[in-house]
């Protein structure tokens, strides 16, 4: 478990001071895929760098399983960094070394024997799906493949936590999806807690279970992804969930009840699902707003449905939609 307690970070530069983070408190539980999302300059990278003490917080603490990382010596920190590894937007592979040697690198740092390191690296190449790239150099690989090698390298020391700073921001949507699938798989199979820094809502939608929205160095909102998406409270969250401000223009008939349907990897497309509901349940739902997209055979995004007033109909609709799986349905009250 990682607890960030009242963390602040102020940079002193020639041009004055920059308060990059202000009084951040967050808890990441073991096994979470925790998203930290915010616009550029919100302080995301600074926050993630404070988690492994690449950046020393000005105030506050980072506790890992109860241990205060700020109180550790440089040497002790180096040990902790084998448990909390990191992948980056630019992959940051050693360009003069083969993929195999890149993956061996953290093991080499830790003093693991060559043969043993190599064996582990080969296993990791298998896990990330590039068993035939051991002797290739990073420059010979695509961006997605390079990130897979970086992931393998980050897993070499069998970390408890993997920090991803904009790890998919340099990749195209398809590759992004593949990498996110890999991360999800790693989270499930190896039980590694993952913290994902991103400016892309779709990334959080796709794999995170919890999310913190960072805005101007403060946490604007924090919670279950589905809850935050279903009913964003803060302005920053609303801006991210409704980038075009659609929520304001949603027409609601008098008396109409509104459901927000969040698709979090559902196996059914949005509009056909509503049509199917009309056929199966004889409920005529009005699609007020929809922003969904398909990645592979799964759907992500959300939708606002207008429903007739009767409680019974609403209940049936909620039940019907929820049964699809990976769909979260909540009633929206008091807006518009």
């Amino acid at each position: 478990m990682i607890e960030i307690k009242n963390l602040s970070k102020t940079f002193r530069t020639a041009g004055g001071t920059v308060e990059a983070l202000k009084n951040i408190s967050l808890t990441v539980n073991d096994g979470d895929i925790y998203g930290i999302i915010g616009m550029s300059g919100a302080g995301k990278s600074t926050l993630v760098r404070c988690i492994n003490m690449l950046e020393r917080p000005t105030e506050g603490a980072v506790l890992m399983d109860g241990q205060d990382l700020g109180a550790l010596t440089q040497k002790e920190l180096r040990g902790v960094r084998r448990d909390v590894t990191m992948i980056f937007q630019g992959f940051n592979l050693l360009m003069q070394k083969t993929c195999l040697r890149n993956i061996c690198f953290p093991l080499e740092l830790a003093g693991v024997k060559k043969a043993e390191a190599k064996k582990r690296a080969m296993e990791l190449l298998e896990i990330v799906g590039l068993p035939d790239k051991a002797e290739s150099y990073p420059a010979q690989l695509s961006g997605g493949q390079q990130q897979r090698i970086a992931i393998a390298r980050a897993l070499a020391t069998q970390p408890k936590v993997l920090l991803c700073d904009e790890a998919t921001s340099a990749l195209d949507p398809k590759t992004t999806h593949d990498i996110l699938e890999l991360l999800k798989d790693i989270n499930e199979r190896l039980g590694i807690t993952i913290i994902i820094i991103t400016h892309q809502m779709s990334v959080v939608e796709e794999i995170c279970n919890r999310v913190a929205i960072l805005d101007g160095g403060v946490v604007a909102e924090e919670g279950e992804v589905s809850a935050v998406f279903a009913d964003p409270q803060s302005d920053a969250a609303k801006r991210l969930v409704f980038p075009d401000g659609e929520e304001e223009v949603v027409p609601v008939h008098p008396g109409e009840r509104v459901l927000r349907v969040v698709f979090n990897g559902a196996m059914a497309a949005g509009a056909p699902l509503i049509t199917q509901m009309a056929i199966d349940e004889k409920i005529a739902a009005n699609i007020l707003y929809a922003s969904t997209k398909c990645l592979g055979d799964k759907v992500y995004g959300n939708m606002l449905l207008g429903l007739p007033e009767e409680e019974e109909t609403v209940q049936r609709a909620v039940k019907y939609l929820t049964e699809v799986g990976n769909v979260l349905v909540t009633e929206v009250t008091g807006n518009a």
């Binding site: 492994n52 690449l54 920190l77 180096r78 040990g79 902790v80 960094r81 084998r82 590894t85 990191m86 980056f88 630019g90 940051n92 050693l94 360009m95 003069q96 070394k97 690198f105 953290p106 080499e108 740092l109 830790a110 150099y137 990073p138 420059a139 010979q140 390298r153 020391t157 920090l163």
Partner: protein
Amino acid sequence: MLDKMFTSEAISEALLILKEEMPFALWETTYVTVLATAFAIILGLPLGILLVAGEKDGVLPLPKGVMHVLNVVINLLRSIPFLILMILVFPLTRLIVGTSVGTTASIVPLVIAAFPFVARLVESSLRELNPNIIEMAQSMGASPMQIIVKVMLPESIPSLISNFTIAITTILGYTAMSGIIGGGGLGKIAINYGYYRYKYLVMLIAVIILIILVQLFQSIGTKLAVKLDRRVKH
């Protein structure tokens, strides 16, 4: 001068001199150049590393004063003309080699002149490195020493080789000047025959051989740098 240069008499005389003295001179020049470069790298490489690693936000920050002294000394040594430096270091040369004249003795001023230059070249090579790579190594728990040895140097190899090539060709040029303090080699032949005895053809040939040597070192260095660079898809 030109008309006297290519008379058959001059040519046969030059060929004789070349046949008798050139192989040894070539050997001397190569030996002095390679040794001086090697020592200059032995001294300059760690200094160059310190110049980068020792900075305020380098991997091994050193006290400001230390960095300042280092920079001043390097700049100072680099600003002394080689001809004067050769004379200035006589006492040091005598201390190390036992004499201040001769081929081996000429290595000392060459090294003194070249190592600050090499330090700057190493510095510029290391600065080319993507700082994110260093951050990556830190995030994986690398110690400052490990970052220098396992990341900064290996990742800079192609650039270092290119810069060491510049160093060796520059030093080769300087060896010619050491003929003045009795250092042997192509420079001595050029000066002795060309300047003191007006045998310009010998001088011309010595210079041409020097040029060929520079070209040779340069093309070997460039080829090696490209060959070893894994960023290029071979």
